[in-house]
Amino acid sequence: MPAHDPTTFQETEVHPTAPFTVHRSDDGRWYTVTGDCPACHGRTVFRVAHGVLGPLKGRWRRRDAEPEPLTGAIPVYCQCGYPHPERPPESPDAGCGAFWDVPVPPATPPGGAP
């Protein structure tokens, strides 16, 4: 694993070359994306949960029924946790500012890895 690079904070879209791990939780309600930031090489763990908004789930659907699998790509931004120069104090970022897309593997079973 390359060492973290304290790059200057910059909100720019990058295209990762190294693969990312996309893991669906056992109950299927959230995905965890894990990998190294392509810009600063800090370890980033990004979680995306199934939550409010969207279409109604229906009157008779069981509450513990797992949601439909996520398709497409998950937009991820660096959350390495390291300080980066020129990061605005009001910024919600916890990384270098870079962001990228991570494709979701098709039909990832709950609790499974790609």
């Binding site: 979680r47 939550g51 509450r63 937009p75 931004y77």
Partner: protein, 218 residues
């Protein structure tokens, strides 16, 4: 080309993910207030224009009205409790406040809150419909529909009295009551409570009268 909107949406998603329970609670508070206002509004409008009493209605309609009102009460009560539960959570819930378990508990509570809110909405609307149905029944069904079919009976609403004397009782429509006595008009049918023999006006001297009691029917 950098599409910052994509990142902003991702940030919004992370923020909403962390605050979705608060968002659902606020939504439930709004719905709770709306349902309470709607219940109060419908209750005020229809109760003010409704009939004061179901007395005099046929039994089947009186019981129907009572059943509808009882069902409406239960539905509105449980709906209000569900709405409060959605807005403020269930008392006595416990979980480990550790990473994944807390995250899962938040997602569970979001779903339970939404279920409780949907249930509150259904119960409140059904309860309001039951109130409206009960009032519609009381408006449509005529008072004394059973009695009105009997030609011999006087019109409903005419006061009748049961006059008790030393010789027996007489029942009929009160014509006049003064210091000299009581005059009643008896109907043609043989009243169960009446010891008199036939219809027509009957003057009972005050000296013989022991009591005069209003009754619904003779």
């Amino acid at each position: 080309m950098t599409d910052l909107a994509k990142k902003r949406a991702a940030q919004l998603g992370q923020q909403l993910q962390a605050d979705q329970l608060g968002a659902v609670r606020r939504q439930a508070e709004g719905w709770r207030n709306g349902l309470a206002g709607l219940t109060g509004l419908v209750g005020a409008v229809f109760v003010l224009k409704g009939r004061e009493s179901v007395a005099g209605m046929p039994d089947v309609w009186r019981w129907t009205t009572a059943a509808l009102l009882a069902a409406a009460f239960l539905l509105l009560l449980s709906g209000a409790l569900k709405a409060v539960r959605a807005a403020h959570g269930q008392v006595g819930e416990h979980t480990w406040l550790s990473g994944d378990r807390l995250f899962a508990a938040v997602l569970d509570e979001v779903e339970r809150t939404q279920d409780a809110l949907a249930s509150a909405r259904r119960r409140s609307v059904t309860g309001l419909c039951a109130i409206v149905a009960a009032l519609a029944v009381s408006w449509v069904v005529p008072v004394g529909a059973d009695e009105g079919k009997k030609a011999d009976e006087p019109a409903p609403g005419v006061p009748r009295v049961l006059v008790t004397t030393q010789k027996g009782t007489h029942c009929g429509r009160l014509v006049v009551g003064d210091g000299g006595g009581v005059t009643i008009e008896r109907s043609k049918g043989p009243g169960k409570k009446d010891s008199g023999r036939g219809p027509g006006r009957l003057r009972i001297p005050a000296a013989e009268v022991i009591s005069v009691t209003p009754v619904g029917r003779c």
